[in-house]
């Protein structure tokens, strides 16, 4: 009962904060949000607050950007979406994925549904060959044999790395490593992709290609980044975090053109929007 009341409360809250786009319930045609976060708070073990009552939702097939200065709590938020934080999951779920609450009993299911791409590909690429790495997630799900071979091949195909199965991760370029990480995440069949700084460390061509790749992928996407041009190109909506609080939420163009707001939170208006009227 209490849980339902909290969800309803969150629905109201996001309705208030989302102006203009008419996507107030965070739901697409089905009305169920791919991801719903409700009053999420977190303190570091030292007692410092990292997140304070953050609430938002992401519709299926929606791509939203999470912006904020360094130390705003972006990465901490992303770790929560996969149940990696806090160490002990609360009994009252703050996060729902496809309307499934994130609690101790559903954690394996949620980790399959929410694909998390880490900032440093070196942390995510753990196996001795590309095949083994992409197969890591599906193996945990009990996939094996010819099915696994096919799945790995398809996932590598999705990121444009056909035939890379036998390559060794330490001999790949940074961009290729990131793509292999993405293939490893896609192989688990997630419905929400959560990306931490996906364009960092990539050269302009790598960034362009990775952006095109992300645009072509189906499902909901949440991108935490400092790359404002990436946000302008891919995201329809933006969340701005500062000192663990959600300070602004709204359509990308109107938020990113608001110079005062951007400067107040350690950001700046992207070049591509410099000559754009905030309401135009």
């Amino acid at each position: 009962m209490k849980e339902e009341a909290r969800s309803a409360e969150c629905g109201v809250r996001s309705e208030v904060s989302l102006t203009g786009e008419g996507r107030s319930d965070g739901g697409g045609p089905r009305g169920v949000a791919a991801l719903r976060v409700c009053e999420l708070s977190y303190c570091y073990p030292q007692g410092q607050a990292a997140l304070e009552k953050v609430s938002f939702s992401v519709a299926p097939d929606e791509c939203i950007g999470v912006l904020g200065p360094n130390g705003a709590g972006k990465s901490t938020l992303l770790l929560h979406l996969n149940g990696l934080l806090p160490d002990r999951l609360p009994k009252e779920p703050n996060i729902r994925v496809d309307d499934q609450p994130l609690v101790a009993g559903t954690i394996d299911l949620i980790r399959q549904r929410v694909g998390l791409l880490f900032q440093d590909p070196e942390d995510q690429l753990i196996s001795a060959s590309v095949f083994e790495d992409v197969a890591f997630g599906p193996r945990q799900l009990g996939v094996g044999g010819a099915e696994l071979q096919g799945l790995v091949g398809r996932s590598l195909g999705l990121v444009g790395l056909q035939g890379f199965e036998g390559r060794e991760p330490h001999r790949l370029s940074h961009g290729e490593k990131r793509r292999v990480c993405l293939a490893g995440v896609l192989a688990c069949g997630p419905s929400v992709l959560v990306l931490d700084e996906p364009s960092s460390g990539l050269d302009p061509r790598g960034r362009r290609e990775f952006k095109a790749l992300l645009r072509g992928l189906p499902g909901a996407k949440l991108i935490a980044t400092h790359d404002l041009e990436l946000v302008v190109d891919l995201c329809s909506r933006v969340l701005i975090l500062d000192q663990g609080r959600l300070v602004a939420e709204g359509p990308t163009l109107s938020l990113l053109s608001n110079e005062e707001l951007m400067l107040a939170h350690g950001l700046e208006r992207p070049h591509s929007l410099l000559h754009l009227h905030p309401h135009g």
Binding site: D108, R111, I126, Q140
Partner: protein, 197 residues
């Protein structure tokens, strides 16, 4: 151990056969009598033949065998004081070097991922497989990190005093340890994110 892209028959042979053969050779050699005798020619001849067939360069072989000698000599010295009081020193040195040579030939002719695959088929417990895979994956990353830190240190070192060099080395090792622990934490999180339990 480093796999070299070669095209000898040994390189093409099945990794599982090579792995089992290497294990038999190592076990067989280790079980030889403690006194050096003609029987030692058998594994030496087999290994010599395999070494020639693998076309592993002599320099490479010696460079890989050399660091192991410290440990081998240590153990061989200990064997001199063993209660059985039989002359085991030359036998221990020969046995150990033959065993290492067998593993070197295996590593030279088989890519590590294929070895892991073979071990998986031989039903090695998955925790051990994961540990081996992580080691193979992260040793180059760790080496690269150490190289970068050493370079950064060198660019800011203006003294050739040995005491300062040792202090710096200590600081680098400490920092490397902390960084590795941090990375281990992030790797663990990334593994959990993909369903590791």
């Amino acid at each position: 151990m480093k796999y070299e892209t070669g095209c000898t028959a040994l390189h093409r042979a099945s990794p599982r056969v090579k792995l089992v053969a290497a294990l038999i050779l190592v076990t067989g050699t280790a079980l030889l009598p403690r006194r050096l005798g003609p029987v030692y020619f058998a594994p030496a001849a087999v290994l010599g033949g395999l070494w020639l067939a693998s076309r592993m360069p002599l320099r490479y072989t010696l460079r890989r065998l050399l660091p192991a000698q410290t440990f081998i000599l240590g153990i061989a010295l200990l064997s001199l004081f063993s209660p059985s009081a039989r002359p085991g020193f030359p036998a221990t040195v020969t046995k150990s070097n033959l065993c290492i040579l067998a593993l070197l030939v295996l590593g030279w002719t088989t890519p590590f991922p294929e070895l892991l695959q073979a071990l998986r088929r031989l039903r090695l417990p998955s925790v051990m497989l994961t540990t081996l895979a992580l080691m193979c994956r992260y040793l180059p990353v760790l080496a690269e990190e150490a190289r970068r830190m050493e370079r950064a240190r060198a660019s800011r070192t203006f003294s050739r005093k040995r005491r300062i060099a040792w202090q710096n080395l200590g600081a680098i090792l400490g920092r490397l340890f902390v960084r590795t622990a941090d990375r281990a934490e992030r790797i663990y999180l990334a593994m959990c994110a993909r369903g590791w339990r």
